[in-house]
């Protein structure tokens, strides 16, 4: 007997319950276009697409922090 039904359709629920930041001044994350290498600011809800060339693969920028490696 299956006593635990899979909660397949309950996916959108947590989205509603989460405190959505109303502040639209949220800093957009800057991505780099995989085709033309332009920097594109992307806000939540924006299409994942380059505004210049329409390419749909965007790359995240490298961290501004210094990364330390062991030379071995």
């Amino acid at each position: 007997m299956d006593s635990q039904p899979e909660p397949k359709d309950s996916q959108p629920k947590p989205k509603d319950s989460q405190p959505e930041p109303k502040d639209s001044q949220l800093e957009p994350v800057i991505y780099i276009c995989g085709d033309c290498r332009k920097e594109i600011p992307v806000k939540p809800g924006d299409a994942v697409q380059c505004r210049e060339c329409g390419y749909r693969i965007l790359y995240k920028k490298r961290t501004s922090r210094i990364i330390q490696y062991e030379a071995r």
């Binding site: 290498r37 490298r62 922090r65 210094i66 990364i67 330390q68 490696y69 062991e70 030379a71 071995r72």
Partner: protein, 367 residues
């Protein structure tokens, strides 16, 4: 050495070994299939029955030990150590490879790297670059030490390849020495405090009296590190510290170092005429020569036994019984190839000092 029946052997004076036993003691024999009499006779009383003293006396060693330098260049040395045991020769070799310290890049702080080479690979390649800095002027950096001018050398690399230009090959000359220490600032959790740099140098390394005469840099300026495509760039800082080869091979002061026993090639019978010509041709190292003995007769002589690699080509096939290939057991041809931090002859004396220190440690432990 000729074969003699035991009953026909000559009398030998007390305190000496018969010829064939002496050869077994002092030489390794190379037969066509395998070497024989390879093991050292260490026991002092091994030949007590014939009155021969096999003990090793310090005074005898002092009198008989010799070092002959055969070849010395900027980074290489070849010399003979005569009258020493294989265990000591091997100790020097192992110390040279694994225990003589040098400086090598250990920490790489990468600010930006848009090249195709991953940060880890780039760091690894930087670590292997030989640095021209006397390791004796520096201290080891322990875990709790702060990097300072006595234990760290800082290099900076900032390269950029122009857009719409050709590819750029990044070579080791792009690493620039920073005698004042790191120029990068640590991210501090409290923004009000003054940010600290990754090193705390109290003075410029260039002002230290031992270093000022000979600026620190890369040993070779033409080692290829990576390549940059148009628009790619690398910005990083590399911190070199003192270390030894047993931790990582990048700290090994030698490319390699090795020894071989002196080859001894003896003609047991005279090799004449056609056979002599054949023998000269057989040897790939040209150990033999043909000598004119008059009356249109030719004879083979051993002219360059040192070049012999003991390939045993001359004792395979016909004529095997005419030649004896041996190695002198206490004569070592030692070669040191330095990677450049110190000259090869200095490296060897450093190795001797390290072995001396170890012996003193054992003595103080025992007493």
């Amino acid at each position: 050495m000729s074969e003699t029946a035991s009953l026909n052997m000559q009398d030998i004076p007390q305190g000496q070994l018969p010829e064939h036993i002496e050869l077994q003691r002092a030489r390794v024999f190379c037969k066509a299939d395998a070497p024989v009499h390879t093991e050292d006779v260490e026991y002092s009383g091994a030949y007590a029955a014939v009155g021969f003293d096999n003990s090793l006396q310090v005074d005898d060693f002092r009198r008989d030990f010799r070092v002959e330098i055969k070849n010395l260049s900027m980074d290489d040395i070849e010399f003979d150590m005569i009258g020493i045991d294989a265990s000591l020769a091997n100790a020097f070799r192992r110390i040279l490879i694994a225990e003589v310290p040098t400086m090598a890049i250990e920490k790489v702080l990468i600010v930006n790297n848009t090249s195709v080479m991953a940060d880890e690979i780039l760091s690894h390649r930087l670590g292997l670059l030989p640095i021209e800095a006397d390791p004796r002027l520096f201290d080891f950096l322990s875990e709790n030490d702060t990097p300072n001018e006595r234990n760290t050398i800082v290099f900076k690399m900032e390269v950029h390849c122009k857009k719409r230009g050709p590819r750029l090959t990044v070579k080791s000359d792009q690493l620039k020495w920073l005698p004042n220490g790191s120029e990068l600032l640590m991210e501090s959790p409290n923004p009000s405090t003054k940010p600290r740099s990754f090193t705390s140098f109290s003075c410029s390394q260039a002002s230290l009296p031992q270093i000022s005469g000979r600026p620190i840099g890369m040993k070779h300026l033409d080692i290829i590190i990576t390549q940059l495509g148009p628009g790619q760039s690398i910005e990083l800082e590399a911190h070199a510290v003192k270390g030894t080869g047993k931790v990582h091979a990048k700290w090994s002061p030698v490319g390699t170092t090795w020894y071989r026993m002196l080859p001894e090639v003896k003609l047991l019978k005279e090799v004449r005429g056609n056979d002599a010509e054949k023998l000269v041709k057989k040897c790939p190292r040209k150990v033999f020569d043909v000598e004119d003995v008059g009356h249109a007769m030719k004879k083979a002589v051993v002219s360059r036994p040192r070049d012999c690699t003991l390939c045993r080509e001359c004792i395979s096939g016909a004529g095997e019984e005419n030649i004896a290939l041996r190695r002198v057991r206490d004569h070592f041809i030692f070669t040191v190839e330095s990677t450049g931090a110190l000259p090869a002859e200095v490296l060897f004396t450093e190795a001797v000092k390290i072995l001396e220190e170890k012996c003193e440690r054992v003595i103080s432990e025992l007493s």
